[in-house]
Symmetry: C2
Subunit: 213 residues, 2 copies
Amino acid sequence: MSVIRLLVLGAVRQHGRAHGYQVRNDLEYWGAHEWSNAKPGSIYHALKQMAKQGLLHAHEVAPSTAGGPPRTEYEITEQGTEEYFRLVREALTAYDQKPDVLSAGLGCMVDLDRAEVLDLLERRVRSIGEWRRAVTEYYTPEDGPGQLGHIGEIMNFWVHSADTGAEWTRALIERIRGGAYTFRGEGEPFVGVLAEGEENPYATGERHPGDSR
Amino acid sequence: MSVIRLLVLGAVRQHGRAHGYQVRNDLEYWGAHEWSNAKPGSIYHALKQMAKQGLLHAHEVAPSTAGGPPRTEYEITEQGTEEYFRLVREALTAYDQKPDVLSAGLGCMVDLDRAEVLDLLERRVRSIGEWRRAVTEYYTPEDGPGQLGHIGEIMNFWVHSADTGAEWTRALIERIRGGAYTFRGEGEPFVGVLAEGEENPYATGERHPGDSR
DNA sequence: CTGCTTGTAGTCAAGTTTGACTAGCGAGGG
DNA sequence: CCCTCGCTAGTCAAACTTGACTACAAGCAG
């Protein structure tokens, strides 16, 4: 499960056709540089790699309109779209303690039907429950939990995270069931990418890592 | 902040002298393969890299006593010990939304004084608070939070994680203040590594990734 | 005593991530 | 007019991670 791939596919897909810098800006707009490893190097690498694997189609394109080196534009292929949906579904369902995966899934969930998202999130809650049961059974010695010493705090922390994660997911399910947000097939979708030249209202003000000095 | 480095340094340090497979087993004992990227490749790589950097001293040692290729034993150097403490402190203090970092910090916290750990955890709570303030101010548009659409759920999720994380940390502080666990200088330390040949009671039963088939 | 499985110990190539670096263009100051 | 700054757009080497693979020894089934 690569978060970067999911995010990049999602960004390219919403644009129809996008170059690397656009993707990079979208991810910043989503705040992805804060909660995932969405750095320029990773983004450009993911684009190239997925183009090589046929998930994206690369158009070698004109020298950029606004200075800088020539840029390549990408379009998502049918295969890429399939992979995209597979990744979104997985991100919403699987509990792997990686918060970035869920975050990315949340950003992309409106590309699915409301009903399916609800189903996936229900699954998520169940899978958290199963995980919790497995862990607590496994790491609870017969002679009481004291055996583990401070190492037990690690287990305690996991379990706490799982519980609060499940609780949050249930609340999200209620919000979505209650009609929040606009999902696939429900009319005008929420615009989650920046148009060409549009400025990012959530720009961090931090310098781009690519900038020298 | 490399979790692997922290874990590996911690394991080698507790043993005094350890070879790769021992470290690998300790990390499994701690459950680290579940909540971090502690795979054999990463572990051996970290050992070699840190040896190259002078954090560990490598003894090219006899062919293994129990089959398999000859093994190298490692000892932590003074520089490595410094780095170890730096990493533990950082892991306990910094809030970077990476649960594996905190987990590793918890596993190693007893190598510090009780008072210092309490101080570090208090800082952690404060730093979560600051982070929360920054995020909520930043990502709350003037015209109400509805602006963000479903993207707002990502922020919501972060903030929820931060809040429950702070709550858990406060509870941990209380447990430690209340006398739980044995910290540095408080007598017989909890044995957190497996002796040579000791079996791991928490072995996953899953096959080692290194095993063929 | 042959072949098969299990356990010990580690290597390797391929893929990914990181952080620093390059390079073109326009705006604005001096 | 020249020079620097900041923005656009991307590259690159070095480090790290992954998952599959190697190799040796002991146990044991037939």
